[in-house]
Every structure is written in C-alpha cells, then in structure tokens.
Amino acid sequence: MRGFSTATTLNDQSLTLALASGLTPDGTADDLSFFHGFTTQPQVVARSLVALAEITATRYYNFSPEAERDPILSAHGDRLRAECFSACNGVYACFELFAGALDGGQIGYGTTNVDISSQSRALLSQISQRSLLHLNVGHDGLRATTKTSATCERPVAMPNRWVAALGNVSQIMQAFILRFQAPASGARSFIASLPPASATTRSAWLSAVGQSLKVSQRAIPGSVFFPGVHRLSALKRLLPFIQGVRVFSADGEAPGAVLSVDLPGARMTVAVTEEAWRGFSGEGSLLVSLAQENVRENAETIAELLAFDPRIDAEYLGDEASLAQPAVEAALAFLAASGRVGWDPHASAYFHRELPHDAENVIRANPRLTGARRLLDGQKAHPYEQGWVVVSGKKRYFVHSEGDNGTLAESAECTCRLYTDHAGTRGPCKHILAAMLMTGEVR
C-alpha cells in the first residue's frame, strides 16, 4: 500500500503530516531523501523560501503579521515544489525548483512540510549568491547547510484549513489560462512598483503593452483584473533574479488571478482570491465533482496509479483504470479536495502531492453535499412550476433553471441566501445540489 505512514494524523486543529515516506518509484523507503546535493542558484532558493515564509506569516487583509510558516515541500523527480498559503488564506504561493538549478544529487519523490523559523530564515537571508548551498531534503524536513553553520527544521503542524484550500485552489486554477507575459525588464519594473504588503487593498487591471506590464486602475479592454496587488509584494525579494512574468486568469468573472515569475532554474507562482478579505477555503467549487457517482471508489483507484507525477496524464489514468474521462476528472477533484493532487496552471495539468487522506473528512469538509443528501432523503425537494421547491428548516426555496442552458450545475439558480449573496460563485448551494441529485445529474 503506497502512501503515508500511520503516524500521520488528522486532528481537529491541525494536520500532522508524515512523509509520504516509504513511497518512491523504487518502492517504500523509511529514510528517503528528496534531494541531497547542491544548488546552482543558492540565492534564488534562499530568497524564494524567505518569500514563502513571508507570505505564510502575513495577513494581507487588515494587515497583521502572524507566525505561521509551514510550507509544504514535495519532490517530483524533476523538481522540488514548495507550497504555502498566507496567514489570511487569500494567497497561495508555489515555488518550483527545477533540476536545472540543482547539482550533485537526484530529486526524490515525496512530501513533507517544514517550518522556516525566524532563525533559519535569518540563515537563509545571509546566503550569498556565491555561497555553497547544500540542500538536504528528507523526512526530517529541509536542511539548509552552508560552510559555516547549519539549521534543521522538523515537520510541523499544518493548519487544517490548508487542506480544503489546496483542493479549492486547484479547482479554481483549472479555469485559468495564460493571458499574457512580459520579459525581464517589464516584469522587474512591475514587481518593483508593487505596494507593500501592509498597504490598503489595491486592485488593478493588468495588461501587456509591448515589453512591459501596464497597470491600470480602470477596466480596459484586454486587461486582467488582479485583486489586491499588494498581495504580490513578497516577490520583490526576488527582483534581481526575475526573468519574466506570466499572468493567468479565467474568462468572465474570474474568482481571483494567478501571476508567476520565472527565475533562473525556478519559478514562483502566486494565486490570489477574488477579494483580499476572502480565503481560498470555502469556495465550494468542488462540490459538483464530489457529488459524482462512485467518486470515492474511483478516487482510490486513481490514487493507486499515482506516483508523485509532476504532470498527471488524465487520459492515461482513464485507460489504466478503465474509467471514462468525466469519472477520472471527478476522482482527481476528489483527491484535490484532500490535497493529494494540485493543479499546475503552466502545464494545465494536475500534479501529485501526497497528504494524509481521509475520505470521510472530504465529505465532512463539504457539508453542503451532506445537507443536500439529507434533504433528498427527507423528501424535502419536489418539482414546482419549471423548477423545484426545496424545504429547508422553516423556509422554502425555489431552484430553477431558465431555458435550455445545459446542466443544472451550469445554469441552476436558487432563491436561498447563499446563492443570492454570491450569485453562484461559491459553488452550488445544497438546494441546487438536492435538485441535481433528484434529476440524477449527480449521485
């Protein structure tokens, strides 16, 4: 059985991760090392990790410094990937260190998370571009070694909310496409112009004009709305190394935006929510996928086929598991909801990262689905006019879908408060889910 060790537990307050210790392409190992060797870009590595630490320790809405610094570190054979969320959960950051920036060792496979404390952050900050940085990444966490001193970080507790946020960020980012990019000069000028993290929320419309990135306070044709550009401020530390910038967003009313900067042998990607005050958790965007038939069983089947792939080939998985593509997508979404796969907007594909998995918790974390099933079981939904009346508590709600607009998942509207307040941008409400269950659109 591939996966996490039994020491990994999920409690109310925190998810304590063990390494996906034993699992590599060569089989289980108790004392694996994700990477053991040198990096050719010591300052890129050091400053990127400090930038991640800064993000995890910053609450960008009603700014206040916090003390949460638990990046997740995954090894995919061709890259190391460190991911984190800001203290406010409204910013997701992913640092990828590619094999081209590493030397003298092989990148392994697995996942852990590390706490970059103020002591190790200070050490990282002193690393020069000329220093010899020896990276030793294993089940103990990340070891940053210089010629003169060393510090070792142990895996630490990870906020429970990160798991839901990982699932939601991966689902949201699937709608994002590359809108434009700019080379080093334009990218650096843009990053240099960013307001500090403590600035009041400032949003902007970004567009590419020639070699530069134009920042506008108005919605101009072809621009991408970037909510809260101050949330990118940690990237300033990387300014001298930035080789280009890419901006991703979804069509229509985008639930946030993504920006990535290219670094020598590395890349830093930052995704932000649609509002600075909103966190990534609670988006509800996975609900439809989670309500698909046999999704839990299919997810287990798919999970057996994963091996820390940096890019998951869904078609291959479908063939191997004898599942249709919608079922594979739903299964992957289910795995995403538990943080076991993430979405790479550059590759437009899932990647595999192992986190302890609790299928029941996925359901628990999505109470709307449970609520919808309960409504159905209690026969609280019935057809009315061109829609459904759903009785919830003492209230009646009307679920309707105008015209022939495809599936309910795409077009249903409800009169409940969740829907009217957010116009469906936070996933279907339990009344719509109940109607979908009734029609058999989901099971």
């Binding site: 000028s189 949003s203 506008s216 101009i220 300033k236 061109q386 009169t415």
Partner: protein, 1080 residues
Amino acid sequence: MKVNPKLNDALAVFKELGWDQATRSDVLQLPIGTAEQQRVAVAGLKSGDWGDFGQLSENTFGWISAVDVDEQMLGLFAIRIGVDPTRAVRIARGDDNVLLQCVLLRGEDFAQKYLQQYYRSPGRMHEHALSVQGGVGIGLACALGAEPLAAIEYLKDWAAVTLHALTGEKHDIYREQRWLPQIEELAPTFLDHVRVAVDNNLPTTGPFGKVIPAAVEKGILTRGEVLKLCITGLELSVRPGDRKAYVEILTSALRITDDELLDNREIIKALIAIGEAPIIEAFAPRLIASVAADEVYEVALPALFAKTAKSRLCVLKALELRTDLDSADAFIVADRLTEITELPHKQAANVARKLLERWNLQAEQMPEESAPIRGLWQKTPDLWELPRFEVGEASSATLAQAVNELRTRDQYIYDLQGDRLLAIAVELAKKSVYQARLALSGASQETWSGVLSQWANGQTITARASEYPSHVKMVFSHVGKIPCLLSTPSYLDSTVSYDDLRHRLMQYAEVKVGVLQTDLVLALLRLDTSQVDDTSELPPEIPVVLADGNHLDRDAAQVIRDYIADPLLEDAADVNKSWLTISVSNLPPSLDGLKFPLNLQYRPDSLTRLFPHWGTAAFTGLYWCGQEVSYAGLYADDASYRAHPLPPAAVMNLLALQRPVHPKMAPWCAQGIQQAWERGLLVPGVADVAYLDWSGELTHLASFAQAMRELADQGMLSLVWPVLDQIVVAALAAPRLPAGLAEVVHTMAECVPEVLAGVETGVASKEAICVPGLRTLASRKGSSQAVEAARAAVALLPEVSTESLERPAKHKRISDAEFSEVWPQGAGVVEHVEDGSRVCGFDMDNAVSTAALPVMFSFVGLPGETFVREHTSWNWSIVSEHQALVRRIASGERETEGYVRWDGSQAVFSEHRNWREDIGGPLEGEASSWAPFLAKIIIADVATAPDPIGERNTLSNLVKESVVGCETVRHAVNELLPFEQWSPARAVYLLESAPELLPALWPMLTEPLHFAAQQPKLPRWVNRVLDIVLLHAALLNEATARGYLPQDAWNGILDIAAMKGSSAAIKKARELRDLFDSLH
C-alpha cells in the same frame, strides 16, 4: 442583558462582608468570607451581566446598572473570592496596584492565565496606546518574572510602559496611571522582551522604536546586541514604516559602520530589492562604495528600481564614483539604465546616460520609429434611439433572478433593476402571493433594509408616515392588492410616458384601489410633461393613499393634471456644490400634501433615475471619492441611459470617475463612459473643468491623466483632448501649478500625433491644435517637468496664431460690481467680545496623528487654570452649544474633563455638558453665548488637523453666518502665530477658492506677513500666504482702498519687500508692493 439568577444571593454576601461600604483602597484587607459564602458568591458572580447600555432619557443613552452596588468593587470582590480568569478579566475595572494585588493573591497559575486571557483582546485608544489595564498587565508579567508573551498586544503594552520607565514619555499612556512598573522591575527580562518583540514584528513606529535607542543610551542593552536585533527586525518587518524606523535606529542611534554593513550585506541586498527609499538611500550608496567590484551590480540592480527619483539618483551617483567597475559585467544593469534615461527626471537620466557611455553600453540607437497612427480621434457616435424598458414575464424564476441582478442590495436605490424587481413582484403577487414570497425567500435581512425578507416571511410591512417615506415599504405594504406600479419606467432612461401612466391608472380604476403616494410622485417626476397636451381621459376618483393610510384630499387624476400644468422643473433646484445637496426652493402646489421619495438634503445621489428630464442637478451622484465605498459607478452607468447628451457637469464628473475607484465600482464606471460614448451622449467640448469633482479643484491630476490616456486609447481622444487643455488653462490660473500637471501635459504630448492625424484626415477640426493652455504653459519660464513637457508637446504641433493666455488679471482693478458681490459693505464686521481667552500652545504630549493638535488656552479671569481641547475632531458642541469639550488643568488639582463656556461675562467650566441640569448629554435649552475662544479653537484646528475638511467647513459656515468676524480672527491669528505647530500656509488653504470669506478672514493674511517680517529668517510658509494675497490682490487692494482694512494692514509686505535678496518670497512681496495702492 442576561442576569445570573443567583446574582442577588452573591450581592447579599457582598454586603454581609461589608464590601458595599468599603473603598477601593480597603480591598486587600476586606474579608472574603467562609467557604460557603464564597461558593454562593461565585455562583452568582461567575456569569451574567451587571447592566446594559440603554436609553436614560429622551436623548440620552448610557449604562444602566442591574446592581445596586459599586460595580468596580463587585469586580474586585469576585476576583478575590474565586471567579475564573476569563470572568475575572471581563469584570475587572481600573488599572492600579489594587487590581494587580487582587490577581496576585489568587496565585501564580491564576495570574498567568489572567495575563494570557487579558491579552487576547485588550482595549486601547489607538494602535500604540497603553491598553486600558496595561499597567496591571505588565505589572503582572514583572511580578511573575515569566517568559515574555509572544503576543503583539502584550508587547505593545510592554513597549509603552518601558518607554515611560526609560524616558518618562507619556505620549501613548492615556489617562493618569496611578501605578506603572518601573525600570528596575522591567530590566531582568528586558533583552528577552526585545528579542520576542523583534521576532513577532512588533511595530517600531510606536514606542518600541524609541525603546531600543533609549535602552542603549541607558546602558541596558549593548550596541552589539541591539545591532543584531535591528538587522533581524529589519529583515522580518513587513511594513515599510517599521523598516524605516529600523533604518533610522541603525543609521542614527547605532551609526552602523561600513564593516558592519558588509557583514550583513546579503540581508541588506534582499531588503534593497524591496525598493523603499529609506533603505536604498541609507545603505545602497554605502554598499556600492564598499563591496568588491564584481559585487557592485548585485546591489545596484535592485536599487535602481527604487520608486523615487531621488533614491535612484543617489544610487546612480554612487555608481558614478566607482571607476573600477568592469564594464563587461555592467550589462546586468544596462536595461535598467536605459529605462532611466527615458524617465522624466533629467538629472538621473543624465547620470544614467553617462554611465552607459562609460561602459560602452549605449542602447542600440534604433531609428526613431514613430508609433503607428491608430485613428484615436474618432467621429462622435450618433445619438441613440432610446429603447423601451421591458419588465419581462412575471414568474417565481424571474422574480428570483431580479433579486440576483440587483446592482446593490444593502439599500434601495432608484434604478432599473429595482424598478424591474418591484414591477415583477407586484405583477406576480397579483396572481400568487405564494409564488412571490417563494421567489423572495432567500433575500437577506440586509437586502433593501430587510423589507423583502420580512415580506417573504409573511410579516406585515408598514410604511412610516415620516417625511420621506420609503417607496419600497409603500409598495410591499400593498403588494398583492395593487394592479401595477405607476412609476415603472416606459423607457430605459426611466421616463414614464403619459400613455403608460393613463393606462396604468385605468387598471387602478378597474380594481377600485388607491394609488400609492410614493409611486405617484415618482411617476410624476419621471413624466415628460412637455409631451402631454390632453389630460381629459384620466380616470377620476382614484384616491391617493398616503404613508399613514389616509387619503389625499384630491384624487390621482387631479394631482396629475395639476402637476402637468405646473411641474417641478430643474430651475427650482439649487445644487450646493460643497455638500452636493439639492434644495428645492419652491415645490409646485400640485404636490401639496405629498412627500418626496427621498430627502434631497442628505446628499441624494440616485437622482439620475428620479429626474430623467433634468440636467446638471440630476447627476450629483457622479462624485469621485477615491477608493472609498460608494455607488458612484452605478450612477455612472445610469448616466449612459439618458435620452439627450449629458450636460457639462455630468461629462466632467463621468470623466473624473475614471480615476481609481473602489474595485467593485470600477467596471461600472468604465462601462458607463463607454456606453455613454457609444450612445452619442458625450459631446466633445462640452465638459467643463470648473465642475471637476464639483469643486473645480485640480487634485489627483496624475491619475486623471492616466485615465484620459486610456480613454483616448479607446477612441475617445476627441472627448478628452479639450478637457486636458482646459485643465492646463485652469492650472495656469492657480497660484501655483498643481501636482500632476506634468502627467497631464505628458499625456497631451503622447496624444499629439493622433490629434494631428485627426486634423489631417478632417475628422478633427483645426481648432484642436490651438490648445491655448498647453501653448501658454510652454511659453512660461522655468524648467519644471510640466513646462518642459509642454514645450516638447508644442514642438510637435504646427504653429498657429493663437493668443497666449494671460495669468489671472491680478494687475487689473476690480469693478465695483465684482467687488460688491464678494465683499458687500459691512461683511466680516462682527462685534468682538473680549472674553479674556489667550492661546497658550498645543498639548503635544497628547497629540495623535489622526486629529488636530489639542490647542491649550487660558482665561484672564481664571488665573492658574489651563484648558486643553479634547476630542479635536468633534465640533458639534462648539457650533451648536457654544461650549468646548476640554481638559481642565489647575495647579494642585486633579485634571478634569468637562466643558468650558462663556456666560456673557466670564468663562465657566462645568464637568457636565448639559450644565443647566448638571448631567451628561446634549445641552438642553439655548446655547451659551458665543465667545472668541471658540473661534480660536476652530482657527487653530484648521491649520493642525491632518485633513481639516470639517474644520474648514465649520469656519466657513461661522463666517457666512456672521458669527465670526475679522477682529476675532485677528486676535486668534496673532495668538497662534508664535507657535510653530500652527502654519498659516495650511490655514489659508480655504481662502484660495473662497474669496467671499476674505471680509472676515483677511487677518489670516495680513497678520502672518507682519509676523514673518519680524522674524530673523522668513518662515517657509510665507510663500504660500503671499501666493494667496497675489491671487486676490485686486480684491484686497480695493477693500483696503475703501477702508475695509486698515491702511497699515499690509505693512508686512512692505517690510518683506524691503529685505535684501531675491528669494521668491521677497520677489512676490515686491510685486505686491507695486500692486497695493496703500503701499505707495
């Protein structure tokens, strides 16, 4: 309020033990009773409220106690007899040694938990102030000698207390603390606290920033320890203010050496990349000078991205001094240097160019290729044909959708979406109230103030018979009974056609119900009365239902006929540009007995859809207020649905709204102007810059210029081009060129090729190249960025014979009529009562950055007493009750807060605002007598408040109402001038655009000039004062000639003009000397 059912038993024990008769100082000696008594007391005190805030009298709200004993004593009793730490924190009052000892008496474990609980969310006056029980908090920590709490709130208190202990500074310690820990108690854990504070990012912009250098000075911390901590703190800080403070400590207090900088250079390099001026200016030049040659570019590259030109220049100069750099490595900075050569800052561009030349990195000279012409000057689109407004089908689904489509929910605004929802609700409820309620079942309590939700839940909606009844409430109190709404728009501009109105009225006649008064009035306001010629077919005897349920004394048809004959026209509306309110002086008699659907006096903003046939007055909602939350974007969108081209004020403010607004509103603003343009509603040349932000003030021009550039790129160049030149014209008329003008001119320069192309193709007229503002600016002397950019732009334009604009006609004499309009005879002359008040400074110890400095004053008749203004942003009691909230300081007495007033013969202090009744709350009865000390307070505030909009308005109103006259102002200004905190430059701001205030406020000009002339060195503010005098020179000269001002009033100018030198101030004074007849 939840009262513990066992509270009375506990109170009985409290009294049995004699606590009700004791004082706070007895607490530690008082008995706590037997175990049984303690059990009973704890049971009654461990939970529940001891009172609640409520209404004390008709106009007074306050604390209503549920216990008949001293709550402070009860709290201490509860702590002593054994309530848990959470409860103890909640009920503890006061911040003294008694409370501290009570907590300590409960043992170390309890004290530790109390400390942790208290610092979960302690209350404090402002970010850095000592919290309400901070003395006890830090005292407990000292007494426990425990590890510092890693909690920001705790550390803030520690810093405030420690700073006080080190330096005696009380700036952040509000109220007189009777007990605070001393340095001996703080010293043992001092270093630990600083470490924890640094690790936890304790802001250095507060007391902590002063604690560090003070600790070094007192020898408590060594320089080495502090240096290390400051570097760590600098690296960990996220706020620019904190980083700046650390830089200040490192460079000023610790005087960090070059070697120490080199030791920490990697950290500094990363910090330089953040791009903040204080870090770059303090460290980048020094590092560039001292690092090895091959490391210089690592420092220089990020430093060259500094946000300020000054910072970039100092980096460039440092690079210039390094002559040992290898040009082979310099390619790293080549791109950035090339960019700097193209930035407006000339000096930096020159140095960058030199460096590029030195390193043979000249950017490849591409043949100057002009940008392709995109045809941005386009023909104005034809005026659109107004479509009809279609409500659509009424069903549960469409009604639910209508809720979802509301552009804003929290309050009802008059818009198409609201009209659609109401119309569908009325139509659907006619068929099935159940379906209508079902559709609205999800509406939240916030939507339209809960009306929808309440109605959906079956509650009865009652419209209040207030002056401006809610239309929504009226509708939902009758929904299901009425056949339709009269006010539902017929067309997209919200016009109601007469035919529709008549047809709808007939439906009412059929079902024999009355029309709703709000609905009728709204329909009338939307009716195009000019198109109606026959009103004979209106059905008779349909009553008009008023908000209170009664009927109007005439039927609906009569009201309509009367209104058509005598409608409310825009002529009756007067727009108050200061407050953007509208006063309608004469409501037509046809509306007698009917109320408006909203109060025009409270900044009404959804008027666009209320008055579809009005001009300027209907667009006051187009008001730019930065990124604050407002509905301005919605009104921008509404403006694009008019039937006729927009008036000058509307076009100007629609353009103004393209500056940064709240992100929620930005798409609406952009859509509004785009639609208005496409629908032919924006006619080039119509916009009038005098209406910019409804005040004509030239502010936020840089962002305005950027927005205009973007609109030009969208094909609206013909619209924005004349506006940009108008801005330049207005700027030239101002006493000094406004900030952002350079950006405006740059934008014009960028647009010149497109303008020329437009003229060449004939789509633009030749007048487009006249641009008198731009040409006049270009002809000005000087080398400011605006002037140089204007020259560059004009160089691209063909010469035309256009008269250059002259500066405002300050050399001309003012006509009699012009003068009398601004300065009527007797204006500004108000009897000055000598109240014996004297300004004696500002209380800097209690100054806060968010309000005016607290001015201090005394009265001749009250020797030994000083009064300090309290709550400096609150002027209500001054204006309305003629008394000021102050802190009274009398030698040998405790400081007391209260109100000072003038009783007609002497100043009187009262601890109570309602001094007639000796109680709190607003003063009942007439205001006290007005006295000059009140004016002095306002005049002081005008120059010291951080954003004195309210203070300026207050002073302006006091002048306009002839409450404050020139003699009082003269006294006030002369008393304030000796204090450097009071800057005349800030005080005279309101005179720039309000010459009508000069009859009373001229001493704000004459007295400072006289004062300045007596100083050994001219103060910096004198230029600004002279600018205002120059601006209004003709008016002031005429007033002096007429004897409204003393002949010697301008002697200050004479004295300054006579000074040696050629500074700008002296030149201006000489110019004025020549202008003023009285000075010849």
